[in-house]
């Protein structure tokens, strides 16, 4: 006799509901825990440019700027490089070499962020200090350092996904273009690339998501200087100075410090809330663009 509800089905739906509850609960948790700071500062929390916790002043804009700045540097470096390299592996490399390259790149993507952070601290920091000597930075811990490190971290992700997108364009398309007398470069840019565009866009967006959320590596090389709000938003000068991102704030000792204080803790969880919302938004936009078939996140 068959039971009306199979145990397997019950368990599966139950586990799924549990997981959904956990992830949504996390969002709700941050929202609830951060209520005091919303009550105190309202939207000023999002638009304020100073963060002095002892004076009970909380504004996240400089951190948003820091996050945006390092992510912009990261993408400006990693997107062209990653897509160019992907064109090479997808269109110009013989098949066996391509698989080897893909494996190597995916292994690179698996290197833990703390190791990248270590490399940043021990190698990149001094290099940037020498590079920026003209602008007399206080140390090698700058927004630029963070951006460069992120570029290296995000590069394998973008390259691997861009390669997937390009190989997804069926071979007969390229063959037909070549048979008309188009050169290899022309067939890539006029036939393959346009059709791979959604996948390429989603590759870059995924890279962006990873850059936005990276904590540990950025924490170690960014200087963790609050209130770095630039006078001119598009100037490059602030990149030569230390800064703070949403993630580096959360990963620091201030989080421990804030744990006992209601308002301070609300501010910290407010930062977490902003981070959660921002990443979810970028991710949802990316999902719209990607066909989501055979994609490994």
């Amino acid at each position: 006799m068959k039971r009306r509800w199979e145990v397997t089905a019950l368990l599966s739906w139950g586990f799924s509901a549990l997981t959904a509850a956990v992830f949504l609960g996390m969002l709700a948790l941050f929202a609830v825990e951060s209520l005091p700071v919303w009550r105190q500062a309202g939207l000023g929390f999002l638009t304020g440019t100073s963060w002095f916790f002892r004076a009970r002043q909380f504004g996240v804009l400089p951190m948003v700027y820091g996050t945006a700045a390092v992510s912009a540097v990261a993408l400006l470096g990693a997107a062209p490089l990653g897509i160019g390299a992907a064109i090479f592996t997808a269109e110009m490399l013989p098949r066996r070499w391509r698989l080897a390259a893909k494996t190597a790149v995916e292994l690179l993507a698996g290197v833990p962020s703390v190791v990248y952070g270590l490399l940043g601290v021990l190698l990149l920091r001094d290099a940037v200090l020498r590079l920026l000597a003209r602008w007399e930075p206080l140390s090698g811990d700058t927004l630029l350092t963070g951006g460069l490190l992120l570029a290296v971290m995000v590069l394998p992700t973008i390259m691997s996904l861009a390669d997937d997108a390009l190989t997804g364009v069926p071979a007969p398309q390229r063959l037909a273009a070549r048979s008309l007398g188009l050169t290899r470069a022309e067939s890539i840019f006029k036939v393959a690339l346009p059709q791979a565009l959604p996948g390429l866009a989603s590759a870059v967006l995924l890279g962006l998501g990873r850059a936005l959320g990276e904590t540990i590596a950025v924490f170690l090389v960014i200087g963790r200087q609050d209130n770095q709000w630039p006078e001119h938003l598009l100037s490059l000068r602030p990149l030569a100075g230390a800064g703070q991102t949403l993630t580096s704030k959360l990963g620091g000792s201030e989080t421990f410090l804030a744990f006992g204080d209601r308002l301070h803790w609300a501010a910290i969880t407010g930062v977490a809330l902003v981070l959660y919302g921002g990443i979810a938004l970028v991710s949802l936009i990316g999902a719209r663009l990607s066909p989501l078939g055979g994609r490994r996140a």
Binding site: P172, Q173, L175, A176, A177, S179, L180, G181, L182, K190
Partner: protein, 248 residues
């Protein structure tokens, strides 16, 4: 197989000057497996040459040797001589892209590019031809007329090419190849993916195309060969898997 068809076989003839002449063409895969052995062919202007034979005999490979599309397949080595208007195409320094622009190719599955019907037809010409802008619309119409597609699409040239039926897409690919005014047309089983009506339409088309181009048609359909061919080359598979011309 050839006995069943009442068509002269395509052995080298000394009379007509062939557009494409093949002598001793052999293709090996991975250095070991022989795909084609010692093929001799002449392709005369204004005629249809049908290449027939069982699956795996190397018909597609042979076709792709004629416009050097075989270069794009890894691991294949080509030896022998193929001459286009008397000039060898496998010599050093040959401009392969220019060669391919003068030889048109149609594949089994129509490979329609994203974009409008007009974009597709003019795709090759825009890159390879030195046509001034104003000459493009005339070339577009001429190609579509020659491919017997003009009356069906003249009023919607800006629509997406993907909205055409499969039979129309195949004729679109034909128009795209014709836009470059090629001297030779290579057709690789162009009707095997089509329904009977579209097949009939394309077969009629091929008979008309013969007037202005040399046509090489690969088909596994003997009836089609009988209907269309001026001459026939039959590939058979030897014991080692290599394709050879069936001697008379």
């Amino acid at each position: 197989m050839l006995d069943a068809l009442r068509i002269p076989e395509a052995r080298p003839r000394s009379s007509a000057a062939p557009v494409l002449a093949v002598r001793g063409l052999s293709v090996t895969a991975g250095g070991r497996r022989q795909v084609l052995r010692d093929i001799d062919l002449d392709i005369a202007p204004g005629s249809v040459l049908c290449i027939i034979g069982p699956s795996g005999a190397g018909k597609t490979t042979l076709l792709r040797c004629l416009n050097r599309l075989v270069d794009l397949v890894p691991d294949l080595t080509v030896s022998g001589d193929v001459r286009f208007h008397g000039a060898p195409i496998y010599a050093r320094g040959v401009d392969v892209d220019a060669l391919r622009a003068r030889i048109g190719m149609i594949f089994q599955q129509p490979a329609v590019f994203p974009g409008s019907i007009a974009d597709n037809v003019l795709f090759g010409v825009r890159h390879t031809g030195r046509l001034p802008r104003r000459a493009l619309p005339e070339r577009l119409e001429r190609a579509l007329r020659e491919a017997a597609l003009w009356s069906e699409v003249a009023h919607r040239l800006d629509e997406r090419a993907a909205s055409l039926s499969v039979g129309q897409q195949q004729r679109l690919c034909l128009a795209r190849a014709l836009a470059g005014e090629p001297e030779v047309l290579l057709l690789d089983e162009p009707t095997s993916a089509l329904d009977p009506q579209s097949t009939e339409a394309i077969e009629e088309l091929i008979l008309r195309l013969r007037e202005r181009h040399a046509v090489v048609l690969v088909t596994h359909n003997l009836g089609q060969a009988e209907r269309l061919a001026d001459s026939v080359a039959c590939l058979t598979v030897r014991s080692d898997g290599a394709g050879e011309l069936e001697p008379r």
